[in-house]
Symmetry: C2
Subunit: 219 residues, 2 copies
DNA sequence: TAGATTGTTAATCGATTAACAATC
DNA sequence: TAGATTGTTAATCGATTAACAATC
């Protein structure tokens, strides 16, 4: 994929929101949309929308806007969502299980190849059609069927160690849901953190701030 | 809480990371730490750390740095984490259950008052010590015991409707884990989104980008 | 005291917003 | 054609980084 500009992290974080909106519009049979309308629906300025999209090429047409399916497919291709990615779940505790049952992996072109857990009662069983293995099997699985993304849902104490194992095997992406900073030294592994507690703490901060404002205290 | 400066969203997003680090340091009996050391451990510049902290007052001492417990308690107080917040879980599906079992709510001063679900088999049961009610009970519970934070883990189709109900009841914070943009009009409700798919999509983008770079393609 | 490190002011860098020629 | 809207360049705004006096 060839880009026109350097893509900022903020832009990348907005791409899924564009895709989400475009899916909505497509389902409602809207065939085209302007940057102004996209902005209105997502709380962005028209300029921002056009700047974001122009990082990846020219999707629109003057006087008309953007063709919804075309832009959607364009963005999906840019994000790699049109290719199938092999995924494994490390840790079949309740968060792992919840993801297995409720994340629309298949619909979004992710193939959940296996789950891994040290719990002997789980090993050999199936969770929503995905078989659970002992973690030491990961190496063999990866050799047989290369893993693109490891979803890390092990207990916090095992997070760093498991992450290192994954990175050492040469798996290139970790989706980290452990609320632990992995602190990996590997250059060639991409990590995306989803820290539940961090998010809840931020919410709490804003809640307190809003209540202070109502109480008339100085902010 | 009185602040020196306007606190940017980026700064707020970093506060939980400081707290996480300070907890670590406290457990290892480190009694003081410099902005340089904090920066090294979190991948920030010393300046950035000092700028962030100076939004909330003067926690440090020249030539010494920051006292770990003092800074930790200071930040916790600023974020409101030293006060107890009443929480309910809307939607006791597998994500709701996973949160009930694995989020350290209690240890972090959140009191999970109740869970709500339309599933008749769940109503009346207990999940990890939390009783499940029919959603229409929320109103009465909130009158009896004011809810600070609603955790939204209902299916996507019900997300917007449930959010509106919550906001109409006057509950001031929603932690949204539904992968849906709620689009609330209420000014006085604080929403924090945790979009699983958005996060996975961002990871996928970076993975593709990294692979393109390895393949020597132009970026 | 001398070295270390803060809090804050100034400089730089990057992201957002505005403006506008091109054109559907 | 006239109105609408793009893609891009320039202007503005905000966040990060650097510098430094104050001082533990």
């Amino acid at each position: 994929m060839k880009y026109n500009k350097i893509v900022s992290g903020n832009t990348v974080a907005r791409l899924p929101k564009y895709i989400r909106l475009l899916n909505d519009l497509e389902q409602r049979d809207v065939d085209h949309v302007s940057s102004g309308e996209i902005g209105r629906l997502l709380g962005l300025t028209p300029s921002q929308v056009r700047q974001d999209l122009s990082c990846f090429g020219s999707f629109g047409a003057q006087g008309y806007g953007y063709n919804v399916p075309r832009l959607k497919h364009g963005l999906q291709s840019i994000m790699g969502l049109d290719r199938t990615h092999n995924v494994v779940i490390m840790g079949a505790g309740s968060i792992g299980k919840a993801l297995l049952c409720h994340m629309r992996f298949k619909e979004n072109n992710y193939r959940v190849v296996a789950a891994f857990d040290v719990n002997k009662e789980l090993i050999g069983s199936e969770l929503n059609g995905t078989k659970v293995y002992h973690p030491e099997q990961l190496k063999y699985l990866h050799e047989k069927c290369p893993i693109d993304i490891c979803v890390l849902t092990v207990p916090a104490e095992q997070a760093k160690h498991t992450a290192k194992t994954i990175a050492d095997l040469g798996i290139s992406a970790i989706w980290n849901l452990t609320n632990v900073d992995l602190g990996l030294q590997h250059r060639n592994v991409v990590v995306e953190d989803m820290h539940f507690l961090d998010s809840l703490f931020s919410l709490t901060f804003y809640l307190e701030e809003a209540q202070d404002a109502v109480a008339g205290r100085v902010i």
